[in-house]
């Protein structure tokens, strides 16, 4: 099946503002992006601001023209097709509702532009408003609505056009946390119901992980990794992805041996441990490497309590000095120094009282299975 949206080696350059324009100085906002987004997929583009995710979205919508490369929508190259002829609709970051029209007029606008007769447009717009539970607000103006309601109108206005692909540019960015969580769930349900491909731009990794089938992590115009939330969290391809998604410990060591799926890493103090090779095992070679290790995947024991350590799986055990301990409600965070690097360990507080008696400055043992650590190229 042809993908709904395909980007092939897409590059977008902007001329830098001001004097440098004369010198022909160009900024690459999007650099050689290749993506294939399947029909019915909920796809997220995730990255910090300035990573090129919004520019990529705007190129799919037709507001920007790629400097080079091709974009295909439903197998058709859309290079010469203006936004108003593309089977794509957008939910804008600030909604961009027309302030001089009522809610129902806003929703009808797209249908009227298609030449749908007034009565049918009205009927379909009412259906769309019904879907977002805003039938009662049809006669109101956008500025009489709350942020969440405006967001829904924007959604109805785009979906009423029955696009092949719906583009969402940080649609929840302006909402407060509680409303955002609600809308996340609602968007996800709606996407499953209408079955339209959603391409969603966000800088919020939790939002991307909770909603999307697949995520593209972008940085400085490049797509660094495309995969499911689990892929990206458990097997980041490089340090940036590991750092951007969730909290991660990094330590630098030497990869001394590559086995089937694991490698042996030697630390500065001579201690060795096993860690997983990345999905693309050839991306790391023996020598200096970085190991990414999630804080919640590490266990910690005070001296003399090693017998409590689980024995079902082979574990790496390392020794370090405990120098900070913070109780933060659900978890306790321990900061441990091992071979010159500091490591954060997070233990869930499952009991009312601490199981162990830790003291600052104490030598402690930490342990983790090889699957929890990922070796990355330095």
């Amino acid at each position: 099946m042809t993908p709904d949206v395909e980007l092939r080696q897409v590059v977008k350059e902007f001329s830098a503002a001001g004097k440098s324009k004369r010198a022909g100085y160009q900024v690459r906002a999007v650099d050689n992006v290749n993506l294939q987004i399947a029909q019915g997929e909920f796809f997220a583009m995730l990255g910090p601001s300035g990573c090129g995710k919004t520019t990529t979205l705007r190129m799919i919508a037709g507001f920007e023209t790629p400097t080079s490369g091709e974009i295909y929508i439903r197998g058709k190259a859309v290079h010469d097709i203006p936004p108003f002829h593309r089977p794509v609709n957008t939910v804008f970051q600030d909604y961009a509702l027309f302030p001089h029209m009522t809610v129902i007029q806003n929703v009808m606008f797209g249908l009227r532009m298609e030449g749908v007769p007034r009565q049918e447009a009205q009927r379909r717009a009412e259906e769309a408003l019904d879907m977002v539970k805003l039938s009662h607000a049809a006669a109101r103006r956008p500025n009489q609505l709350s942020g969440g309601q405006q967001q829904r109108v924007a959604l109805a206005r785009a979906l009423v056009k029955r696009p092949s692909v719906l583009l969402l540019d940080e649609p929840l960015g302006a909402l407060d946390l509680k409303l955002r969580k609600e809308m996340q769930a609602e968007l996800k349900t709606m996407q499953q119901r209408v079955g339209i491909t959603f391409i969603f731009v966000t800088h919020d990794q939790e939002e991307a992980m909770s909603m999307a089938n697949r995520i593209a992590v972008m940085h400085e115009g490049h797509v660094l990794q495309v995969g499911t939330a689990r892929d990206i969290y458990e097997r980041p391809v490089n340090r940036f992805v590991a750092d951007f998604i969730g909290e991660t410990n990094f330590f630098v060591g030497n990869l001394v041996e590559k086995r089937d799926k694991v490698g042996v890493v030697k630390l500065a103090d001579g201690a060795t441990f096993e860690a997983s090779l990345p999905l693309d095992a050839s991306s790391v070679s023996e020598g200096k490497v970085t190991v990414a290790l999630r804080p919640e995947r590490i266990g910690i024991f005070p001296p003399g309590e090693e017998d409590d350590m689980p024995r079902e799986v082979p574990l790496n055990v390392l020794e370090g000095v405990l120098y900070e301990m913070d109780y933060i409600g659900t978890d306790t965070r321990y900061t441990v120094e091992i071979a010159g690097t500091t490591l954060v360990v997070r233990e869930q507080n499952v009991d009312y009282e601490d199981n162990y008696d830790f003291r600052l400055g104490q030598t402690v043992k930490i342990f983790f299975p090889a699957v929890s650590a990922t070796i990355l190229q330095e």
């Binding site: 203006p82 027309f98 797209g110 206005r157 000095v321 900070e324």
Partner: protein
């Protein structure tokens, strides 16, 4: 040094905190300064309003004065207002109601036509400046506001020279004689009001969320329909405000009119000036008061329209 050792050291080191003493004398001095400042700030606007409005107020008051003299106020009357319209001659041979109405009609015709033309051109210019990129845009942007700041007399003189040159050339090539009149005044007024319209409309467009136009195109409207369905209705209050401003400026204009009108085309301000050359009569005060009232009304509407928000969606 290990991190654990650093932690232990930072606990043992002595911490110094800042203390402060209250100087009562300094404190009361500060209070006094603040009080003087408050009183000063209160008088500031009162003084500037007086400075701005006192001469106008005097004019308005004396337009109701029951005496020809402007030295004393000897009672309230509407005589001068009635005189203007009844044709009673109070200002010598130069004055007649017919002449006044004639000049008023000229003013209105010039104002309406010049305003229509400069609103259209001014709106188009501001659209081009705010929505597109073309070579020389920055130069046009800077030059556009020049008529707002350069002395009007310069504009008046340059227009007079320009028209004379054109008409002279026309006379030489075709043998027809053309002279300045209503049309040249209209062109002159268009020339200096475009800038004002452009400034006002551009402010409105700058306030408008450009995503609205993108949203319209996204929803299937081409550029033409986007303009008429989104850009124009949202910019309309700005266009009307600019037009009212242009109309007011055109109605009140003396200098450009004076230099471009040629013989026999009087507008209201030029007519009033003609009366003034002899003597300041109470009728002039009355006419001026009416003009102030009309201008204030128009400017008020213009400001109210400019202040209307809800442009951002």
């Amino acid at each position: 040094m290990s991190a654990a050792q650093t932690v232990q050291q930072s606990f043992s080191s002595e911490v110094k905190t800042r203390t402060f003493e209250v100087n009562e004398r300094q404190l009361s001095l500060d209070r006094l300064v603040r009080r003087i400042g408050k009183v000063g700030l209160l008088f500031n606007p009162i003084f500037s309003f007086f400075f701005l409005w006192a001469p106008i107020l005097v004019l308005v008051i004396f337009s109701f004065n029951d005496s020809r003299s402007v030295a004393t106020f000897s009672g309230f009357t509407l005589r001068w207002y009635l005189n203007i319209f009844s044709g009673a001659v109070g200002a010598g041979d130069n004055f007649s109601t017919a002449l006044l109405l004639d000049s008023l009609r000229n003013s209105l015709v010039i104002g309406v036509i010049a305003t229509l033309i400069s609103s259209v051109i001014g709106t188009m210019v501001s659209l081009a400046l705010s929505r597109s990129d073309f070579p020389g845009k920055r130069v046009l942007d800077a030059v556009l506001y020049l008529p707002v700041v350069i002395p009007e007399i310069t504009q008046g003189v340059s227009l007079a020279v320009f028209f004379n040159a054109i008409f002279g050339w026309w006379n030489m090539t075709t043998g027809q004689r053309v002279s300045m009149g209503l049309e040249t005044v209209i062109i002159g007024h268009v020339a200096f009001t475009i800038s004002f319209v452009a400034v006002v409309v551009r402010a409105r467009l700058a306030d408008m969320n450009p995503k609205l136009e993108e949203a319209a195109r996204d929803l299937g409207a081409n550029e033409w329909r986007t303009f008429w369905a989104i850009t124009f209705p949202l910019a309309l209050p700005g266009i009307i405000a600019g037009a009212l401003l242009a109309f007011t400026l055109s109605l009140d204009d003396f200098l450009v009119t004076f230099f471009t009108s040629g013989a026999g085309t009087n507008t209201l301000p030029v007519f009033v000036y003609g009366l003034l050359r002899l003597t300041v009569t109470p009728e002039i005060n009355a006419i001026s008061t009416i003009m102030i009232l009309a201008s204030t009304l128009l400017i008020g509407i213009s400001l109210a329209l400019q202040g209307r928000n809800a442009v951002r969606g």
